[in-house]
């Protein structure tokens, strides 16, 4: 008869996380205030900003620009009027 042993669990304790639905999507983008939150990768974000503004001129585009990983957050006031946000590029 081989002895059995109880082995303990090394995994960390995950606190329960409340999960949320996504925010409702926009019916159309024209006339909306949409933020482009730039975090680096200028090879993509420079042409992206140009294309968005040129191809969708009826959108009220606003930009937060940063080079590193942490975005510049919208202020409480800006959040009141923001209709959407594109975060680019996370790396």
């Amino acid at each position: 008869m081989v002895d059995k042993v109880k082995c303990l669990n090394p995994i960390g304790i995950g606190m329960p996380v409340k999960t949320y639905p996504l925010a409702p999507r926009l019916e159309k983008i024209d006339g909306k205030e949409i933020w482009l939150s730039i975090t680096g990768e200028p090879d993509i974000t420079i042409p992206l900003e140009k294309r968005l503004k040129n191809d969708y001129p009826k959108v009220n585009w606003k930009v937060k620009r940063k080079y590193d990983l942490d975005p510049i957050p919208l202020t409480d006031e800006e959040m009141k009027t923001a209709d959407g946000l594109i975060q680019a590029v996370c790396w």
Partner: protein
């Protein structure tokens, strides 16, 4: 991700653009932040920017307008399943169980260990964990919390705040840490060091960073048989090896960090195995403080430093024989470069290594040197570590024209949109011949550790100390 989660919860629709291989990481972080169905679009690592934008512009706008699916409308609670006992069976069966792997597809395409660093572990039986817990006065069910107020890269941490292990934001008890310490092969007397490492939250490298270097300072190093001598960062000493190994094991188990899923060091390095050593306090020249005293602790107090090594490591830049020739009689290539031909030492050997320090990247350095080389610096005239730090910092100045040619400065200057800290002017307003300290705004980022054997070598690692991110933890608080 916390920011995107906050916006979604506030009713603002978002779309994330991320690199394709980061998909699993985005999913895991989104789940940890309570928005598991976040919408994201892949950017290319190689496609020319305009072509990539052609490809992704429609999907990005679609992400803002396409109606939500039933799944995306769901809310609820998520809790990772866990129980105190993970496995019951024979020791042989347990060994197989704890060596389990899971296949991680691209960018890994190989099996990755589920409970360990990849090597076999010592099985954490109830008895072994009970024995391990004798190494601390803290209760098994006590949560790992900050033992003092401190700054971290993520903000201010107050004494008593629960420590969150990244990337999954999990917590741990003293018993959980003891379980991981058993698995790494630690002895009970080493547990306070492991608990102090756990207090760091076991930070892991990002996509590019090379890993972590762990250094113990203070009397506990001798008490528990750590090595600060020859080969101190290599194999051989059980205490250094086992304590170092707890970092990757705790990252995996307490933080939920999985290589290629939510831990993405493109190549990684031996540092990520948990390189651990002790400081040789007896080898310090007169007046040079140990790491503990430099960090505001007393000489008889023990601390551990967990140092992220974000860029690179440099080894010996000279032959040890060449070094001896420099100091003994002023002969050889080192003496020629320092223009001290025929003059016996002491000479400032750092001057020889200097051209390499900021040749490719900026930032302060961690410098490990053997006691003899530290004593040469002392005899040369550096009566404290601070004097060396100040000298190094002054030597780091380079023209802005050259500074711009380094890779990381785009990151640290916020793409040149920020303010240069010394002049207080915008980077773009400064002339090409403006002198910039490549080692950072002051000398406080440098860190010297004395240790190792007799052969005259030094090792320098990028990173250094960060004024807004304390990486020193009291071991005595966990005794």
């Amino acid at each position: 991700m916390p920011y995107i989660a906050e916006l979604e919860k506030a009713g603002i629709p978002t779309v994330l653009i991320d690199l394709e291989d980061q998909q699993n990481m985005v999913r895991q972080e989104a789940l940890a932040q309570g928005v598991p169905n976040i919408r994201f679009i892949h950017a290319s690592r190689t496609l020319f920017g305009e072509a990539d934008v052609d490809r992704l512009i429609s999907p990005v706008l679609d992400g803002l307008t396409r109606p939500l699916t039933e799944k995306e409308k769901e809310s609820g609670m998520w809790q990772p399943p866990w129980g105190r006992v993970l496995f019951e069976g024979t020791l042989d069966e347990a060994e197989d169980f704890y060596q389990k792997t899971e296949w991680v597809p691209h960018p890994v395409n190989a099996p990755i260990a589920v409970y360990s660093d990849g090597l076999p572990v010592r099985i954490p039986t109830e008895e072994r964990v009970r024995e391990m817990l004798k190494g601390t006065s803290h209760k098994p069910d006590e949560l790992i919390t900050a033992q003092s107020d401190r700054l971290s890269g993520r903000g201010e941490i107050k004494k008593g705040d629960p420590i969150r292990f990244q990337p999954m934001n999990w917590t741990a008890t003293v018993e959980k840490v003891a379980i991981n310490a058993v698995m790494a092969g630690c002895k009970p007397e080493q547990l306070p060091v492991v608990l102090a490492i756990a207090e760091s939250g076991c930070p892991i490298e990002s996509t590019h960073s090379l890993g972590q270097w762990i250094c113990v300072s203070g009397p506990i190093a001798k008490e528990i048989g750590m090595s600060s001598g020859c080969g101190m960062m290599g194999p051989g000493n059980p205490a250094n090896m086992a304590i170092g190994r707890t970092h990757p094991i705790m990252s995996r188990n307490l933080g939920g960090a999985i290589i290629g899923v939510n831990r993405m060091p493109s190549i990684s390095s031996p540092f990520a195995h948990g390189s651990c050593c002790a400081e040789n306090a007896d080898g310090l020249p007169p007046g040079w403080k140990g790491l503990n005293e430099e960090s505001g602790y007393k000489k008889d107090e023990s601390v551990v430093m967990i140092q992220i090594v974000p860029k690179g490591i440099r080894g010996v830049q000279h032959s040890p024989g060449g070094y001896r020739a420099l100091q003994k009689s002023g002969h050889g290539g080192m003496a020629r470069r320092l223009n001290v031909k025929g003059k016996p030492g002491p000479h400032n050997w750092l001057e020889y290594a200097l051209p390499e320090f900021w040749a490719a990247t900026e930032g302060p350095l961690n410098i490990i040197m053997i006691p003899e080389m530290a004593h040469h610096l002392y005899e040369y005239g550096f009566k404290s570590k601070d004097a060396v730090y100040e000298w190094l910092w002054k030597k780091s100045f380079m023209t802005l024209e050259n500074y711009r040619k380094l890779s990381w400065v785009d990151f640290t200057t916020n793409g040149w949109l920020g303010i240069e800290p010394i002049s207080g002017k915008h980077w773009k307003e400064l002339p090409d011949d403006y002198m910039v300290p490549a080692a950072g705004p002051n000398s406080s980022g440098f860190c010297i550790i004395v240790g190792g054997g007799d052969e005259e070598v030094s090792q320098q690692m990028s990173g250094g100390r960060r004024p807004n991110d304390s990486n020193i933890y009291s071991i005595d608080a966990w005794r």
